[in-house]
């Protein structure tokens, strides 16, 4: 090992990219005038990397200096990130009062016509589709998440992808697709129009298909790519129907037009709640597909077939947020205090129920997963479901007129989106680091290629890695804590709000929300268990495989993003909570600041708010949550999977206490439970995949076979018939061309006679 250098000098290549935005800033320009950079930079470099990668494939400079385009992609994403940060800074600086300029117009359908005046352009009355940017706290937050994570992921990917021998000379494909994916995400967040949102949404869908199938020669990867594409397509069809219905209602898909007064449709008509609710439910189905919620969740675990774990990461930490974004955009429709349409409580209830079911189901399946990435994938589903439940509760509150509570849980849900994205991004990178190092150690051990069936992602081959991978272990610890909701760390601040407000809704008239509320509470404890289980199985206890001794943390480019994200996860949640992030995200306040309190005041205020809310019922809920997720779940996990490191092994103090502590709870054998029918059902993902395949095999597949037969025999048959007739005619007609001048003259004479006859006939 140790053959990889850190290669910091490669970063020099991205410096010019990073100078563009500071230069523009120094000229006194407005950031919003240059928002197009955020989208254009990755789009251009997608093409550059894809083409240059073909031309210079295998070229020494291209591979070693530019990392097969990775450095260029990093530069482009850096440019996007800097432009985005500039815009975010201006947005915060002006407290949200920011000019966004006129949208750029597309598809204006002018017609070129000719009349006595000459050539002219005739307008058709259709004013095209404008593309502008839409900024509010929601898009600003997601823009930061997307640009920041994509930048770090690209950084990580340079180290991860280029040190894998399996990717020889095809990494440019990865980087090009990745950069295009980023473009789709940025564009979707910025778009000021549902149609553009949909277009970028689909670009992401395409890239996700390409990235999951990156190892297209592996049958499982090709299958997973197909599955992800088709499953999300189901949602997308509904999404498109929903958009058409919205267009039908409002005559436009511009946010500015639609959100201005959602209760008034095209031509001043009053919008009917039933029609609008159906349209929004269609949009929600699209979001369910994209965010992998029940019942369209089956693609996400398989998506882990992508290049370990980078594409998994963009799916889990970035793209899935698209669905949440779409649902969050529905708030103006239902907010009865601000021209919203009353009578759509069912929408919020459905969203919340879907969220609750998914949260519980995913968490339970995560109990039995042994693949480190699959645990994270199910955890992603489960956490996204929290956010959906929160958004559902918010929609319900808004629609029933409780604006204050709605805003609070809406902000909390979005805050959880932020915390989860940061933590989960880091967890995937850390898992990638683990897998990568284990894989390298395995390669190192088996020169003779003995262990062909070795799975570097299986946690049963790990254990005791805390001393071998110090940075990774710390990162994974903070990430897991944030996901579990350990008090004061990251996700705690947002998850508490979601759970308590869902219960609050139940206590205040939302009887139908009892189900989701209970499910969320139970899931909190389960999260504590399965996240702890993952950490203990990987890092604590005695090594379960000989190769653990050979694992080292050496791959370049991997540690930096882990460190950055660890810091953000560990203290970012608390810090932002102190600055009133929840109020800011929900739009209740335009200032991201402490409202005149001193720091100490604010800390005390926040802690009081979190642990000792005035509402007694919520206080109980909060404490139950904490005891479940912080005490019960982790301790059970520690009893089953925990253990001290081997004698003599020493981890960094930051994690050493945890490994030691995990060994103190004794051990419990769960073999009996592991062999139960329930465990088997969970192993088989509750048979959802089998169910879908069975249904598909009986319905869609016969129809597809028929369509294929029809295409082959009827459509192609007609075309083939035309072709063979044409060829027959061609052969016949060529016979006339004998090559003899005599015949040609004869033909000309016949022609002349015909002309003679015809013209005479007409004349006479």
């Amino acid at each position: 090992m140790g053959e990889h250098k850190q290669e910091w000098d490669r970063l020099l290549y991205i410096v010019p990219f990073l100078f563009v935005v500071p230069y523009l800033y120094s000229t006194g320009a407005h950031s919003t005038d240059y928002a197009w950079i955020i989208i254009a930079a990755p789009l251009v470099f997608f093409a550059v990397i894809a083409i240059a990668g073909q031309i210079w494939n295998g070229n020494e400079t291209w591979v070693n200096q530019l990392k097969e385009g990775g450095v260029l992609g990093l530069g482009a994403l850096g440019m996007s990130l800097s432009a985005a940060l500039w815009m975010i800074y201006e947005y915060l600086d002006h407290h949200g009062h920011i000019e966004v300029g006129e949208p750029w117009s597309w598809l204006t359908f002018d017609v070129l016509t000719y009349d006595s005046e000459g050539w002219s352009i005739a307008a058709t009355g259709f004013h095209g589709i404008g593309f502008g940017i839409y900024l509010d706290s929601l898009s600003i937050m997601l823009l930061f998440v997307a640009t920041f994570l994509c930048f770090l992921i690209c950084w990580f990917a340079i180290g991860y992808m280029t040190t894998d021998s399996i990717n020889d000379n095809s990494n440019h494909r990865f980087f090009a697709e990745f950069v295009l994916f980023s473009m789709g995400m940025f564009g979707m967040v910025l778009a000021d129009n549902f149609l553009w949102l949909f277009i970028f949404w689909e670009i992401m869908g395409l890239c996700s298909y390409l990235l999951i199938g990156f190892y297209y020669w592996k049958e499982s990867a090709a299958y997973a790519a197909k599955k992800a594409f088709l499953t999300t397509r189901v949602g997308d069809v509904f999404l498109m129907i929903g958009l058409l219905m919205l267009y039908d209602i409002y005559g436009s898909l511009d946010f500015a037009v639609v959100f201005d007064d959602p209760s008034t449709g095209v031509g001043g008509a009053v919008v009917e709640a039933a029609a609008l609710q159906t349209a929004l439910l269609m949009l929600f189905i699209g979001a369910v597909g994209k965010s992998a919620q029940f019942p369209l969740h089956v693609w996400l675990p398989d998506a882990m077939e992508g290049p370990t774990p980078v594409s998994a990461l963009i799916h889990a930490a970035t793209m899935v947020n698209a669905g949440l974004y779409l649902v969050a955009r529905m708030v103006p429709f239902v907010d009865v205090g601000h021209h919203g349409v009353a009578g759509m409580e069912d929408l919020g209830l459905i969203v919340a129920w879907i969220g609750g079911i998914t949260a519980f189901m995913a968490a339970s399946i995560a109990f039995v997963q042994n693949d480190i990435k699959k645990v994270l994938a199910y955890s992603t589903m489960s956490q996204l479901a929290y956010i959906f439940t929160g958004l559902g509760a918010a929609l319900w509150f808004f629609n029933t007129g409780n604006h204050h509570a709605g805003a609070l849980v809406f902000g909390g849900a979005l805050f959880h989106l932020f915390n989860h994205a940061m933590a989960k991004g880091m967890l995937f990178m850390a898992s990638g680091s683990v897998i990568h190092e284990v894989h390298h150690a395995h390669d190192h051990l088996s020169h003779d290629g003995e262990h062909h069936d070795f799975d570097p992602q299986d946690m049963r081959n790990m254990g005791g890695l805390a001393s071998k991978l110090p940075v990774t272990a710390i990162a994974m610890m903070f990430g897991s804590m944030s996901i579990i909701g350990i008090p004061l760390i990251g996700g705690f601040w947002s998850k508490e709000v979601i759970i308590s407000k869902t219960w609050y809704a139940y206590f205040h008239g939302g009887e139908a929300l009892l189900g989701p509320a209970i499910l969320l509470l139970a899931t909190a404890g389960m999260t504590g268990f399965y996240m702890s289980r993952m950490w203990f199985m990987t890092f604590a206890g005695e090594p379960k495989h000989e190769l653990v001794d050979h694992v080292h943390e050496t791959t370049p480019w991997i540690k930096t993003p882990l460190v950055i994200l660890s810091i953000i996860t560990a203290i970012g949640g608390f810090g932002l909570a102190l600055y009133g992030a929840i109020d800011w995200l929900s739009g209740e306040s335009t200032h991201l600041s402490m409202h005149g309190h001193t720091l100490i005041d604010q800390i005390v205020h926040e802690l009081e708010h979190a642990f000792l809310p005035e509402d007694l019922q919520l206080r109980y809920v909060g404490w139950v949550t904490i005891s479940l997720s912080f005490v019960l779940g982790p301790i059970m996990a520690a009893r089953i999977y925990g253990g001290s490191l081997r004698n003599g092994e020493k981890a960094t103090p930051l994690v050493h206490w945890l490994t030691s502590l995990s060994g103190k709870f004794g051990s419990q054998n769960v073999d009996g439970l592991a062999n139960s029918q329930l465990a088997e059902a969970l192993q088989n993902r509750l048979y959802f995949d089998d169910l879908y395949e069975g249904v598909l095999a009986r319905t869609i597949v016969p129809f597809a076979n028929f369509a294929a037969w029809f295409d082959k025999n009827v459509i192609d048959g007609v075309i083939k018939q035309i072709e063979s007739n044409s060829v027959f005619g061609s052969v016949q007609i060529r016979r006339i061309t004998t090559g003899s001048a005599r015949d040609y003259i004869l033909m000309a004479a016949v022609g002349a006679l015909c002309i003679f006859a015809l013209i005479w006939g007409v004349g006479a």
Binding site: Y114, D115, S116, G118, W119, E723, S726, V727, G729, S730, V731, I733, R734, I736, T737, G739, A741, D743, Y744, I745, M747, A748, V750, G751, A752, I755, F756, L758, I759, W760, V762, G763, A764
Partner: protein, 551 residues
């Protein structure tokens, strides 16, 4: 005289090409004295002027000046010379097309028929092989003058033809161009196909010409004058239909039909294209064809067009157009020889343009729609120089290796020279009419014009399709015929592209180095794209608009 400057330049070019290579140091001694006057003609030739490349330089130079001048004068010139020549924007536009085509032919010929100053006469010491090579080189060198004189002669004839104000003069000019062209087709007489093709082309062509001249004489019998203006007045004031006039026009159509290679007078064309060298074939397919269409404009639209109602030749031309395009496309479908295939494609394109002219003859259109169709046709003739000639130039690049008569010769072009193959791809797409290339725009304008003309005819109140189909004028179906034919044609255009990109080359060596020819091809490809949309298309359309306004 200044009005005819481009033609004068060409005449000067012809004279210079005769004189310059023959300049020598011969001297004349004045009798009874010792004074010797340099005679310049005869004696030992000067080294500089005897260079075999001189004729090509002269012809390219003359054609370039003529081209640039024609281009500059499109918007401004008008005037009359000697009663039979009338210079208008339209004639200058057409001479621009002719000169551009001939100039490219001249450029391509420098590689097809290379001239080498270093060639010497073979001696007895040379081996047999070297002797053959040297002889063929000498032959190339000696033929330079002939080729370029003929080429400029073609240009002169065509350009004068476009200016003709008189039917007789127009026929003379056409014959001037045609006779030179027949020789150019047969120019490579050492190849069996060349001589045969030239002979066939000449025989069929002269029969067609004779028929046309006979028709002209009938017209003269009828009107007693051959000025176009007089003829037009006579036609519109004709009481009923005079048999002489009608039959005369019909017979002239035979001659013009041969020139534009309309069915069934096109049969010699594929043989001629396949037998001629590719640059000459390209010239035939663009300049010669444009000449035929100018003649048709003059006679059918200028003279034999009634002030209102259907023209007498409408039905006839519509039938010819449909047969022509269908025949061309069907025959091209199974052609294994790229040159023949392009020849048939050229026949098909003639069919499209004839259909557009027929639509004008229907008399349904108003002033605007008629002009739109005319613009479409002239625009098409202009840009044909780009992609039809471009395709022939690519073949001519292959021909420098001695091969371009089999589809296999194009195999793997993309690997041998990606840029040229890419250009050929663009040419083929443009021929097929794929947006955003200029071939698409011209086809669109043409179909748009035809549909516009027929627009008034379908009954408006009918909502169902079938009654509307019954009520719509026959002109509409011409547009449909063009569309269907274009669909068939895509097959053979794309097949050619397919073999270029996906077949293994028989000979993986790079193509022969032909700098100017290759650059011309690339420029043509670029222009094919640029004139297809945006400001490029607008500019050329404005130019054509100006030209057509003066018709």
């Amino acid at each position: 005289m200044q009005l005819l400057l481009p033609e004068m330049v060409l005449v000067t070019g012809i004279i210079l090409s005769i004189l310059v290579p023959n300049l020598g140091d011969a001297k004349f001694r004045i009798p009874l004295t010792r004074t010797r006057l340099p005679l310049l003609i005869g004696g030992a030739r000067f080294k500089a002027t005897s260079d075999p490349r001189v004729p090509a330089w002269i012809s390219m130079f003359a054609l370039t000046i003529a081209l640039v001048y024609s281009y500059l004068e499109i918007g401004s010139t008008s005037g009359e010379v000697g009663g039979v020549i009338e210079i208008t924007s339209f004639s200058r536009m057409m001479s621009l097309v002719f000169y551009a085509s001939l100039l490219l032919t001249a450029v391509a010929t420098t590689y097809r028929m290379p001239s080498r100053p270093s060639t010497r006469v073979p001696t007895e010491k040379d081996s047999e092989k070297i002797t053959t090579v040297l002889i063929s080189r000498l032959m190339d060198n000696r033929r330079q003058v002939d080729f370029h004189i003929l080429l400029m002669m073609v240009g002169l004839g065509m350009s004068l033809m476009a200016m003709a104000n008189n039917l007789f003069f127009m026929f003379v000019a056409i014959e001037l161009a045609s006779l030179a062209a027949y020789v150019l087709v047969a120019f490579h007489k050492e190849e069996a196909t060349g001589g045969e093709a030239g002979a066939k082309y000449f025989i069929v062509g002269s029969v067609a010409s004779a028929t046309g001249i006979y028709g002209m004489s009938l017209v003269y019998l009828w009107a007693g004058n051959l000025d176009f203006d007089t003829l037009a007045v006579a036609w519109s004031s004709m009481d009923g239909l005079d048999p002489f006039a009608v039959v005369g026009v019909g017979l002239m159509l035979v001659a013009f039909g041969f020139k534009v290679s309309a069915a069934p007078f096109h049969l010699a064309a594929p043989d001629a294209y396949a037998g001629a060298s590719s640059p000459v074939a390209g010239m035939l397919a663009t300049a010669s064809k444009a000449m035929g269409f100018v003649a048709i404009f003059r006679v059918l639209i200028g003279v034999a067009m009634p002030s209102e109602g259907e023209a007498i030749w409408f039905c006839l031309l519509a039938i010819i157009a449909v047969i022509t395009m269908t025949w061309g496309n069907l025959a091209a479908l199974t052609s294994e020889n790229p040159k023949r295939m392009l020849a048939y494609s050229s026949v098909a394109h003639a069919g499209y343009m004839l259909a557009a002219i027929a639509a004008i003859g229907s008399g349904l259109g108003d002033e605007n729609t008629t002009k739109l169709v005319l613009i479409a046709i002239v625009f098409h003739l202009t840009i044909l120089v780009l992609f039809k000639l471009g395709a022939f130039l690519v073949l001519s690049l292959l021909e420098t290796e001695g091969r371009s008569h089999r589809l296999e010769d194009l195999h793997g072009m993309a690997r041998r020279d990606p840029l040229v193959a890419g250009s050929m791809f663009i040419f083929m797409l443009s021929l097929a009419g794929v947006p955003p290339l200029s071939g698409f725009l011209s086809k669109l304008l043409m179909i748009n014009g035809i549909v516009n003309i027929s627009a008034g005819s379908g009954s408006e109140s009918v909502t169902a399709i079938l009654p509307w189909v019954e009520s719509v004028d026959i002109v509409f179906w011409l547009a449909l015929a063009i569309v269907l034919n274009s669909a068939i044609s895509i097959f053979y255009y794309l097949r050619l592209c397919l073999v270029m990109f996906f077949e293994e080359p028989e000979n993986a060596k790079p193509l022969r180095k032909a700098v100017h020819l290759r650059n011309s091809i690339l420029v043509l490809a670029l222009l094919t794209v640029l004139f297809g949309f945006g400001s490029g298309a607008e500019y050329l359309l404005d130019l054509v608009d100006t030209a057509v306004s003066s018709l």
